[in-house]
Each structure stands twice: as C-alpha cells, then as structure tokens.
C-alpha cells in the first residue's frame, strides 16, 4: 500500500491507519465524533494527498476539457475552480472532480484516489495533443477546514486570504517554508512561491486546500498543529462531515452505473455545451429513472450502505451512504428512489434488520449552521 509523505506524522499524532483506495490512511486520531466537532467548531487538518493531481495543458486545453466535463471549465478565469462530473459514453459517472484553472492555460484536475489512473487515461484518450502530467507523487494536499481556518492559514501564507473567495485559488509565498513550488511547471508565477492555496474543501465549513511540494509537507503539518488551534482529522470524520452536507462519495453514492441526472446536484450539468454523455442525459430526461435523495430517520437506528428503502411495505430503493449525524444526532442517509416518489417530504422507511424505521425525504444539506 502507498503511504503519503506524512505517514510518520500520522503515527506520531496517534492515528489509526486503514487501507483506502490503495493507500494507508488515517481513519481517526482522537475519535471520529470528536474530530467532526473540531472541524465544525474550530479547525481541523486532513491529509488528502491520496487524491490525484493531474496537470493538463496544451492546445485548446480548456475547450477540450469542456468536452469531458458536465460543468465547463473554459469560462473559468485563472484562479477559479469548477466542480464537475466526467461521464462515459453511456452518460454514467466515471468520477466527480474539481478542476482548477491554476495558471494561464494550465488546468489541475483532482480525481478521487481510486480513479486517478482511469481519469488520466480517459483524459488522454479523449483529447488531442494534450499533456497530462500526474503530479500525485510530487505534491501533498492538506485540507484545513473549519471556522478558524482563515485565521490559522493567514499566519502561514503571504497572500491576503480575506480576498480569496470560495472556489478560487492562488499561488502564495509560504512564510518560513521553502520557496519552491514546481518551478519547472509554473515558470511565470514568480520566484519564491511555495504553495497553491484554494478556498475549497469537502466538509461544508469554510476552509482551504493547500498544495505544497513533498518536502514541505511535514513542516506545514507540524506548524498547523503547533498553533494549538488545529487538530488532525481522519477519513472517518471526513465521511460524516461530507454526509451531513449531502456531498457524494465516489464509489459509494455513485458506482459507475448512475448518470449525473440521477445523483445531482442539478447545477453540475450544464446542458448548453457539448460533452461526452450529453445525448444520453437528454434522452434520459424524458424517461423514468431513480434519483439520489436525502433521507432523515424518524425513529431510532443507524442507516447504512445497502439497506433497503421501502414505501408502503415495498422495497423502492437502497441506501448508498448512511450514518448517525454527529451534529443532528439523527440517522441520515443518501439513497436512490424512483423519481415519482422523490419529492421533499415524502414518507418512506429504511429497513434496519427487518424493521421498517420511518423516514422522510428532506432537503440538503442535512446540517445548516
């Protein structure tokens, strides 16, 4: 199994390590619920270096990437990030990715860990003359998330973070860190630049994702923990945090057999531009299909992946993600049901060990501040 450059730091912080998409990653340090609240109330740092980093550049890179993305990137100015889906020719989701227009004509696509090779091959195979560089082994990504994230990160970078909006990123000097960030690739970003910092994340909190070269990783990690305001957070809390927001988990909430119309969110598909899979989505719009809904339990119990969703005693779908929401202290789930019974307020049941536990469809996010 692969290890990130922060492996020793994880052990030193008391991590329990697990295998995840071929990587040995921390699932928890102090405890999942504790870490969940650390992010909701203060600030947590996640090592998300297992996710991919594909730098894509070359002739008409933006227009060519639009052809692969449900949500086009070509309108994004330098410094903007776009969340979109990559669909196969049947309209089914290959992966959900964030693509940064990182520097003029260069795009950084971040696929999920288990899909890096497939996405790289998909991009290479469906574009012409583009360079697709896998930077995954050269970069570390730390997600610094929570209400204190700006205050904490402002102490580490040269740029004024109060002017960095959500889904925007920029290169910055790393105060006290090394002054190098892939100078062979980003020749025009100025000497001394040490990181790329973006106001993105997958927790529903304010926060940043910071890319640094490998050799700065441990230094930045320890500096964050040294502030006393940040604590390390593992994959366990990453999952409960994203679930409270209703964010999709690749491989779980979509597994290669659903389209973006089924998963949503609706804004992720922009039908006014051509892209692979679009013709299938247009046909699907006029048919009956199952959609992903947000379900809250009315009774006791914990909904889990694979549990049946029932209505009037009949199975109508399956839970794809579920857990006890630490903030709401109620069972929450994502799952697929037929579109005709997918309206907010619809009464359903989740089958937990043979018992129909009452539940209803609610709006996302489950948790609002």
């Amino acid at each position: 199994m692969k290890r990130t450059p922060l492996y020793q730091e994880h052990l030193a912080a008391g991590a329990r390590m697990v295998g995840f998409a071929g990587w040995e990653m921390p699932i928890q340090y102090s405890g999942i619920i504790d870490e969940h609240f650390q992010v909701r109330k203060q600030c947590g740092v996640f090592d998300v270096s297992h996710m991919g980093d594909l730098l894509i550049r070359g002739p008409q890179a933006a227009a060519q990437l639009d052809w692969l993305l449900t949500n086009p990137i070509s309108k994004a100015p330098v410094g903007k990030a776009v969340y979109g889906h990559l669909l196969d020719v049947d309209g089914q989701i290959i992966d959900d990715v964030i693509t940064y227009h990182i520097s003029d004509g260069q795009y950084l696509m971040v696929p999920n860990a288990s899909n890096v090779d497939r996405v790289r091959e998909w991009v290479t195979g469906n574009t012409k003359g583009l360079e697709v560089l896998d930077l995954s082994t050269r970069l570390v990504c730390l997600a610094v998330q929570g209400p204190l994230a700006e205050e904490v990160m402002q102490g580490m970078v040269s740029t004024d973070l109060s002017t960095l909006k959500r889904f925007r990123g920029r290169f910055a000097f790393l105060s006290g860190g090394s002054s190098q960030f892939l100078p062979d690739l980003f020749v025009n970003e100025g000497e001394g630049v040490g990181c790329y910092i973006a106001r993105t994340g997958y927790t529903g909190e304010d926060g940043f994702e910071v890319l640094v070269e490998d050799r700065d990783a441990a230094w930045l990690w320890n500096r964050l923990l040294g502030t006393g305001k940040v604590r390390p957070v593992g994959l366990g809390a990453r999952d409960t945090l994203r679930l409270e927001m209703g964010y999709l988990l690749s491989g779980t909430d979509f597994d290669g057999s659903q389209t973006s119309l089924q998963t949503g969110p609706s804004w992720v598909v922009k039908m006014d531009h051509p892209f692979i899979g679009r013709d299938v989505l247009i046909l699907q719009r006029d048919r009956k299909y199952d959609v992903l809904v947000a379900i809250k339990l009315g009774g006791k119990g914990v909904p889990r992946h694979g549990y049946a969703i029932a209505r009037a005693g009949k199975e109508v779908g399956k839970v794809t993600s579920g857990n006890m929401s630490p903030c709401l202290k109620e069972g929450v789930a994502l799952g697929y049901v037929p579109q005709r019974i997918s309206a907010v307020g619809t009464e359903l049941a989740v089958m937990i060990r043979g018992e129909a536990v009452p539940a209803r469809i609610v709006e996302l996010p489950f948790y609002r501040k």
């Binding site: 699932i27 405890g31 999942i32 366990g236 914990v302 857990n323 006890m324 060990r353």
Partner: protein
C-alpha cells in the same frame, strides 16, 4: 493495552460476564469497544427475552460499524441497561461498569465453564 479485569469471564467474541449467584451481567470488553470505536446506537434486548447461548443479545453501532453482541450464557433477560438508549457512549467510557448491557438469569450455569478467564482472553486478543 486494554483493560481485562481478572474477576470476569470472556468469550472469543469479546463479551464479558460477571457472575453473582445465578445472575450473569453481560457487556462488551474494553478491547472490543476500542476496536469498534464510538457507539452511537445500541439495540437492547427486552426484559423477559429468553435466549440460548450464542443468540444475538444486543446490537451495537459505532460511527464506523455495526456489531452483534451474543449471549455468553442461556437464560432469561431480567434487566437491561436503559440509560444506554440515550447515551451509548457509556460503553466506550466505562465498558465494565456503567456500560453493562443486560443481566441474564442463567438456566445452564454449567456453560460458564466454557468461558475464558482473564489470562486466556488476554492471549486471545494478543496482549
């Protein structure tokens, strides 16, 4: 190292049993709670349930996982730890005391001989 009190009996599935006369108080071990992590829900048995050794006595759910708790002995459930309904994390904080799950009036006290003592259980969990 997890706590393994000397006076209790253990199963390979990580239940503990405290015997007083013909009563067996049952819970899950410190080792098990540490592996399963923070409990968020416990499905308790009902008083009056009659169980055979090995039947599902309770179901514990952590953030990560769901696990069955098996009856280490046969008998009738005469008491359940109701407060776990509201605060299942008591099992994490106090697995051998406030975190007990149920009390069983044993019908086959001879079954106790099949349970492990503390040193055997310690070996079983590799400590």
């Amino acid at each position: 190292m997890s706590e393994v009190p000397a006076e209790l009996r253990y199963t390979k599935d990580h239940e503990w049993t405290r015997v007083e006369g013909d009563m067996a108080t049952v819970g899950i071990t410190d080792h098990a709670q540490g592996e399963l992590t923070e409990f968020v829900y416990v499905q308790l048995p009902k008083e009056g349930d009659r169980l055979s050794k090995g039947d599902v006595l309770a179901i514990v759910e952590s953030v990560k996982n769901t696990a069955d708790v098996y009856a280490p002995v046969s008998g009738e459930v005469v008491a359940v730890n109701g407060p776990l309904d509201d605060d299942p994390s008591q099992i994490n904080r106090s697995p051998y005391d406030n975190g007990w799950i149920a009390r069983i009036k044993m019908s086959e006290p001879g079954e106790l001989d099949k349970l492990m003592d503390a040193s055997a259980y310690r070996k079983h969990i590799g400590e």
